[in-house]
């Protein structure tokens, strides 16, 4: 008797919990692949396409599907590869030279005296960092430019240049402390 009772109870419990899990799975469904998002969070969002994919998200998806190596993003640099390796439990590898080299962050600057207002760069910019209307001079919103260089080639009059952001006192970073070697009197 008690055996049947126990069995019945267990079955009832199993069904109940199963139902709860089922409902939860539907209710709290995660639409996006969390791994893709995690990878995407590490990528620098420059959207430059140097990795061979049309943007960071596609590259993240490819990494998640094991279709791409983790060392193809030059703007992310060595640090980025390390972070990806840590996230995915993979071996670190140096940046793939085919994709390009890590560069200091730069900013696109439009020479306002040459710009003919063709709007080609506006269409190329992945983050809408260029403003201007047809036949009006265009300018780059410095705070939005990711430095992807995608606007350089479309410009018919070559008036866009990349300038290094450089360092400002406000964003300056303290260096890793180094101990100065002292000269010893010979």
């Amino acid at each position: 008797m008690s055996f049947w009772l126990a069995l019945g109870l267990m079955i009832a419990l199993a069904l109940l919990l199963g139902a709860i899990l089922g409902v939860a799975a539907i209710r709290f469904k995660v639409d996006e692949d969390p791994l893709v998002d995690k990878i995407d969070a590490i990528l620098p969002q420059t959207q430059c396409g140097q990795c061979g994919f049309p943007g960071c998200k596609p590259y993240a998806t490819a990494i998640a599907n094991e279709e791409a190596e983790i060392n193809q993003c030059p703007p992310g640099g060595d640090d980025g590869v390390r972070k990806l390796a840590e996230l995915l439990g993979k071996e670190y590898k140096p940046l793939n030279a085919e994709n390009g080299a890590e560069k200091p962050r730069a900013l696109a600057v439009i020479d306002e005296n040459i710009c003919i207002g063709c709007t080609l760069c506006i269409q190329a910019c992945p983050v809408d960092a260029i403003v201007g209307a047809a036949k009006q001079l265009h300018t780059v919103i410095a705070s939005e430019c990711t430095g992807c260089e995608l606007c350089i080639t479309p410009c018919p009059v070559d008036c866009i240049n990349m300038v290094d952001v450089g360092e400002e006192a406000a964003t300056w970073k303290w260096r890793y402390p180094v101990i100065r070697l002292k000269k010893v009197a010979a």
């Binding site: 620098p44 960071c56 209307a133 009006q136 001079l137 400002e168 406000a170 970073k173 303290w174 890793y176």
Partner: protein, 717 residues
């Protein structure tokens, strides 16, 4: 190390005050070296030939210049305005001419250049006409905001070294329990606050009363270390009342830290991530209170400060120097001697070595020390940490400096942060006691700036992602709309064509009407989509974008102006050109705004706009439409022909197919079908017994057949 229990009144402050003084954890006793500079009164500083004023004079945003190169400015004139709320204005410390707005070396450990306004003084030191701000009336009217804005525009920032804009600290909502005036001045060598308290006690007390009134504070305490008895006495004499209490605290570095002084005087520990205001306590440095007084009662902006010049100089002492005075001028004024190795800006514990003396004095500059190898001997070689724990018992923030050091060194910033790295006030007490001579604070500064940089780039990446996604979304929407437009146009063109046969030739008006209807539907759809947040998002983005555009354009214009000003000589021409360009930009922006307005209007009253648009498009595509119509007509004719063929046969529905079959076969099939139907009907009519009988009969028949088959098999074998 003092090991009194926390919360234990350890000592009565300095004899006179009956107030219990509590203790904070740790602390150190570095040699004070205050007597060198504290003995002589404050002297007015030199009037330099040129002043270099960095635009970044406070925490937060750098000020925005209000003057142009070549402009004459008067003493006290506002030359740069606060940019946003966390910022403060900047004023001309003397009269003269603005000769440059350019990057100059600033007093910053990085040794980088930052934008500075350079003023050549004319030696007249001519004040701008000033009018006193009636802060009392504003206060009585409950207009705290006006007072705060005034202080921001007077450039009042914390002069204790942190240069936090003071107006932000006055934005209290409720009454404050305790207002603490910080006169501890715990760092060695520095005596500027000491001299200020001694010499200007009356003004200072007046200032304290103002701040108290602004904050509606119940209790006011002035915290002074017991190595400054003259200052305490001067203040007591000036107070002349019971509303303000002078509390003397034991000399122990860093008792002048805000959190440490709060703990000393009130026994309140401000936990990590909590502002002291939330606990009813607010802390102001004495020099800051003094400038608040000068600003509110004398309409004097912050254009000078008292700075201690000490170390390897002939006349160590305190100087009231104009902000922007080149540091080399100050050192020369104090009679710098040969043999100086470097100059420390701030105290020896928390200050930094100056990258050069061409930089101008900032509001943060409370002290400059010329060091010699004798006074500042090299701290031996850095040795490995032996985990002796000395640093932890010295740390006033109750941290574990050796752990922070370990994680900062190995770049495990996350773990350093978990151990409250950001509670470290960089006081240097830990490095001071470390027997291994580890420059611990350098590691913390390194770790902090790395973490800040990582956070900043993360934020930038998130913004870029958002913008990129929005662009993709926008492109998709545009594509979809285009496709819809095309489909609608085709549909509109097709409609009259299909009915072409019935109404021989639909005239243009009808086609147009259909098109308009389609366009209206489309527009309505778009509007509906807009109501679900679509266009709202766009509009929000637009507003943001517009602001950014304006800023970017302004910057571009400024850049240009600056460039042209560099070329010099032809300033008016450049200005004119610039104006023209600015005009152009404005015109462009206006045009854009108009376009946008038009678009918005269109959204609001779609039918007219849609009709117009389509009228235009019809006109354009007339030829094409005609061609399409012709083709459609042809197609319709073909279709009509096919239909007429079909319409002729409906009577003999299945006949053509059936006729293909053999009539005899058809007959047979029909018979079989009939038989099956009869059988079914019979079965349905049967009673259960009958059906059972039938089944039995069938079974018997099957059995018989089986037997027959078996027999046959046997006979064959």
């Amino acid at each position: 190390m003092e090991m009194a229990l926390p919360g234990d009144p350890a000592q009565e402050g300095g004899g006179v005050s009956a107030r219990p003084i509590y203790r904070f954890n740790g602390g150190v006793h570095p040699p004070e070296h205050k007597l060198e500079s504290s003995g002589t009164p404050v002297v007015p500083g030199p009037l330099p030939a040129q002043l270099v004023l960095p635009l970044r004079q406070s925490i937060g945003n750098a000020a925005k210049p209000l003057v142009a190169v070549g402009e004459r400015v008067l003493k006290g004139q506002s030359i740069a305005a606060a940019d946003g709320s966390v910022s403060a204005a900047l004023h001309a410390p003397t009269s003269g001419t603005v000769t440059a707005i350019e990057d100059r070396l600033v007093a910053h450990p990085s040794g980088l250049a930052e934008t500075c306004i350079v003023i050549d003084s004319d030696g007249r030191d001519e004040w701008e006409a000033r009018t006193r701000f009636d802060w009392r009336a504003a206060h009585d009217a409950g207009d705290g905001r006006a007072i705060r804005d005034y202080l921001r525009d007077m450039g009042v920032v914390g002069l204790g070294g942190a240069v936090f804009p003071s107006h932000l600290k006055l934005a209290g909502r409720d009454a404050l329990d305790t207002l603490i005036i910080n006169g501890a001045e715990c760092e060695p060598y520095i005596t500027c606050d000491d001299r200020l308290m001694r010499e200007r006690a009356a003004d200072l007390v007046a200032g304290i009363r103002i701040v108290r009134q602004l904050l509606n504070a119940r209790e006011v305490l002035i915290g002074i270390e017991d190595n400054k008895p003259e200052a305490a006495a001067a203040l007591r004499a000036a107070i002349d009342g019971a509303d303000i209490e002078v509390a003397v605290v034991p000399t122990l570095y860093p008792s002048g830290g805000a959190k440490q002084l709060i703990k000393l005087l009130t026994n309140i520990e401000v936990p990590s991530g909590v502002r002291s205001t939330d606990l009813g306590v607010q802390c102001f440095n004495v020099a800051t209170v003094y400038t608040i007084y000068r600003a509110l009662e004398h309409a004097e902006p912050v254009i000078s400060r008292i700075v201690t010049l000490t170390g390897n100089v002939a006349r160590p002492g305190n100087v009231e120097a104009l902000i922007g005075t080149p540091l080399s001028d100050l050192m020369a004024f104090a009679g710098e001697q040969t043999g100086t190795r470097e100059h420390i800006y701030g105290g020896p514990m928390m200050g930094f070595a100056l990258p050069g003396l061409t930089a101008g004095l900032t509001k943060a500059g409370n002290c400059i020390i010329a060091t010699t190898p004798a006074a500042f001997p090299d701290k031996g070689r850095e040795m490995p940490c032996i985990r002796c724990g000395e640093c932890a018992s010295a740390c006033p923030a109750e941290l574990q400096p050796m752990d922070l050091y370990w994680f900062s060194r190995s770049r495990e910033f996350g773990r350093a942060q978990e151990r409250n790295l950001f509670d470290c006030i960089e006081c240097g007490a830990c490095a001071y006691v470390c027997p291994s001579s580890i420059q611990l604070v350098d590691y913390y500064r390194f770790a902090k700036s790395e973490i800040w940089a990582a956070e900043a780039s993360k934020k930038a990446a998130d913004k870029a992602r958002e913008r990129h996604e929005f662009k993709q979304f926008r492109e998709e929407r545009e594509k979809r709309e285009k496709a819809e437009r095309l489909a609608a146009r085709q549909a509109a063109a097709a409609k009259p064509a299909t009915t072409a046969d019935a109404a021989a030739a639909a005239d243009d008006a009808e086609a147009k009407a259909a098109k308009i209807k389609a366009a209206m539907a489309r527009a309505a759809e778009r509007k509906a989509a807009g109501e679900t947040g679509d266009t709202q998002a766009t509009d929000a983005m637009d507003a943001e974008k517009r602001a950014k555009i304006a800023a970017a354009m302004e910057k571009a214009a400024a850049r240009k102006a600056h460039l042209e000003s560099l070329q010099g000589g032809e300033a008016p021409v450049a200005e004119a050109m610039d104006k023209a360009k600015a005009e152009k930009i404005r015109a462009a922006m206006e045009a854009a705004a108009q376009r946008k307005a038009a678009r918005d209007a269109a959204k609001a009253d779609t039918p007219a706009q849609a009709g117009e648009a389509d009228a235009a498009s019809t006109a354009m595509d007339d030829a094409k439409a005609a061609k399409i119509r012709a083709a459609m007509e042809a197609a319709a004719q073909r279709k009509a022909h096919r239909e007429s063929l079909q319409a002729a046969v409906p009577v003999a529905e299945a006949a053509p197919a059936a006729s293909a079959l053999d009539p005899e076969k058809a007959e047979r099939i029909r018979a079989a079908m009939q038989k099956r139907d009869e059988e079914k009907a019979r079965l349905a009519a049967m009673s259960p017994e009958e059906r059972a009988a039938l089944d039995a009969e069938r079974q018997a028949r099957i059995d018989a057949a089986k037997a027959r088959a078996a027999a046959k098999k046997e006979s064959e074998q």
